[in-house]
């Protein structure tokens, strides 16, 4: 199965994250899965003419392209020319190359939130007029039309995340290889459900604080970061707290909020990232699928019921009060 990987307007961090794959390492995994890397900008030997010849051969249909992976947003500027990113040595823009190569591919995979929805490359006033491969933010239609379908009949597969977890990318490749990724396996924004059916909240180490709305007031404190520090883990898709990052990590385990980096338009939350917007002192933004009235009722009740241990630890930088030990039953 041939894989061609292009880096468009992004930071390259999804590749750098992919190289963190473990058990097995990324090269053993690709070999084991029978994925043949035609070219990857950070990994392959080929440079210059060798690459432009390869790209032309793929464009001409002389080399079959099973998977086209695109990392980074697609710059359309200035003035729709795409010249803010020229694919070096080819005299053509990345926008042009993408539109030429995508129809040749059996599967098209956008890797990272820049490639899926535009992401951080489109922050502020979007200086390079960038878009995702098949989305502009949450709207269908990016560098490719919303109606685009790859050879497999699927739209662009959106492996969103900033960065992507290495396993999100490798498992998508493995599922594609085994023919086990169909339309029903993607959510409405094209994200593979195997990780997008979870919320970052699932398995969050701060869950007990969340249960009582025992909140951290500043970064470095242990409490829940939803009320004051901008955390949207209860609304963001991702299995970040079920499947750890770099061994044992996640944003919330690292002591900083989830900013929903798997979501379209996460780059412009319309408030400082690490500050929860509030109306009349009440945080805006409810946990997914939670009726507002019930949330308010439960929150005020649980806040009132907060045990001293949890209230104390929430505003401490390490555990100050340990759990009360229960004596075994039958003893006094």
């Amino acid at each position: 199965m041939n894989l061609l990987w292009l880096q468009a307007a992004g930071c390259g961090g999804c590749t750098m994250s992919l190289l963190c794959a473990e058990n097995p390492n990324v090269f053993d995994l690709l070999d084991g899965a029978g994925v043949n890397v035609l070219w990857h900008p950070a990994i392959s030997l080929e440079t210059g003419v060798e690459v432009s010849c390869l790209l032309s051969a793929v464009e001409a249909g002389e080399i079959p392209l099973d998977i086209l992976a695109v990392e980074g947003a697609i710059a359309r500027g200035p003035h729709g020319t795409g010249r803010y990113q020229m694919l070096s040595g080819t005299g053509r823009s990345m926008l042009d190359w993408l539109r030429a190569l995508a129809p040749r591919a059996r599967h098209v995979m956008a890797v990272g939130t820049c490639a899926t929805y535009g992401g951080i490359t489109t922050a502020g006033g979007n200086p390079s007029d960038a878009v995702g491969v098949q989305y502009e933010g949450a709207l269908g239609g990016g560098a490719l039309l919303a109606s685009f379908r790859a050879g497999d009949g699927l739209p662009v597969i959106n492996v969103a995340g900033c960065p992507t977890h290495p396993d999100w990318v490798t498992e998508t490749l493995l599922l594609l290889k085994s023919g086990a990724l169909g339309p029903a396996d993607l959510d409405e924004l094209g994200r593979p459900l195997f990780y997008a059916q979870h919320l970052v909240h699932h398995g969050c180490p701060k869950n007990e604080f969340y249960e009582y709305k025992a909140s951290a007031e500043m970064l470095s404190e242990m409490g829940c970061m939803m009320e004051h520090l901008g955390c949207v883990g209860t609304q963001a898709v991702g299995d970040c707290n079920i499947r750890p990052w770099n061994g044992t990590g996640s944003c919330t385990s690292g002591g900083y909020p989830c900013i929903a980096c798997t979501a379209p338009e996460f780059e412009e939350p319309r408030h400082p990232f690490t500050e929860t917007p509030k109306i009349a002192g009440i945080p805006v933004g409810l946990p997914s699928d939670m009726p507002k009235a019930w949330f308010m009722a439960l929150a005020s009740l649980s806040k009132a019921a907060t045990p001293k241990r949890i209230a104390t630890n929430a505003i401490a930088d390490r555990v100050e009060v340990t759990p009360t030990l229960r004596k075994p039953k039958g003893r006094t």
Partner: protein
Amino acid sequence: MSEARLVVGPFNRVEGDLEVHLDVTEGQVASARVTAPLFRGFEQMLEGKDPRDALTVTPRICGICSISQSAAAARALGAAAGMEPTPQGAAMAALIHAVENASDHLIHFNLFFMPDFTRPAYAGQPWHRRVVDRFTAGQGGAVRAAVEARAQLMHILGLMAGKWPHTLAIQPGGVTLAPGPREKVRIEITLRAFRRYLETTVFGGKLEDFAGIETVSSLMRWDRGDAGLFIEIAQALDLDRLGRGSGRYLSFGAYPLAEGHGFAPGLWEGGPVPFDPSAIVEDLSHAWMLGPAAHPSTGETRPDAAMRSEAYSWCKAPRLAGRPVEVGALARQVVDGHPLAQALAGGGVLARVAGRLLELARTQVLMEHLCAAIETNARFMSGPVGRIENGHGAGLVEAARGALGHWLRVEKGRIAGYQIIAPTTWNFSPRDAAGIPGPLEAALVGAPVGEGEASPVAVQHIVRSFDPCMVCTVH
């Protein structure tokens, strides 16, 4: 007299987009123009935002120097807010940063730089079979071992920084997580494993022995590990003469700790000379940028959408007192006063790569010291960074590939100006108004170009010896 013009691209294993234009005369590069063909506009994106958002946005400039960007933003913000990290917070931020830099050195050597020697052009060399075995792209034994060792080293980042890249763990006041005794012993054991890997695979000997090398002649006798294989190749191909530098080196100083920098700041030109940060100017004469040349504290970023023909890059041309400087691991080690680095100063491919290996060995030792000095009951955060009404500040740090600066100006609670000079902006800058080429452009002159070589391999060695990061360059 034979003359040719070459355009080399797509230029990979340089972390981002790069195009190199060469004028070739009599089998040698007569002049070079280096083009960064991507524009994203982070400095513009940041304008108007809450200053604290720089901590979330700027790491995403670069997926390989993410923590360096984070550290620079935290320092700039701290300077504007008038706050400093606690001593232990600064030390943990340094450890987190050092893990990224060590990982980058490892990736550069094994994945980006060495695979070029596996090319068929070198098939006749006595070392070729060994290099193919160790460094074939995506396949070689050294390549696989390096990604595994790096992934395991980065468990320190999973533990203390949540994830890599793009962590928010480093803040102006310190770090978001206070390590306890358990975290300390885990860091210690991860570092021990990394030392074992470095000593058995990369160096084939004690790190202290490699870091203790003082002269070029003893360096050239190092024949163990993958480092020894590189030295053998460097001898055979005379890599010291290939792509020689100006010998003018700048370091902003790496790992600011309460007791001073881990690697010292300064400027070097045959010896230490005074460094004045106010003498930095970004020249725009050959960049597709509009506006006057300016110090980054007052500079601006306005892309020239017409892409005027006199210009050829989205990269500005930073100059220090009107002259280019080279930055990177070699520069840092020279400025820090290491005798081997100083002996290598002014050198080419060998000097840059050996400087990086030297720093890799020294960084492991530094990380071990930082770990041993963790106080598990200390404060790791001095306080929250609140709203900043007005202020300005600079954050000068060292990424793996050299000096990185952020200059921030806040007015009425919003970012009024944010300028970034990345390491590769220095090294791969275009010409300035006086026509002086950037360090890579100068280093490429004289590089041999074989008959029929469309993407000259000597040019590739020189370019990659700088460990460029183009995505930072074209922020």
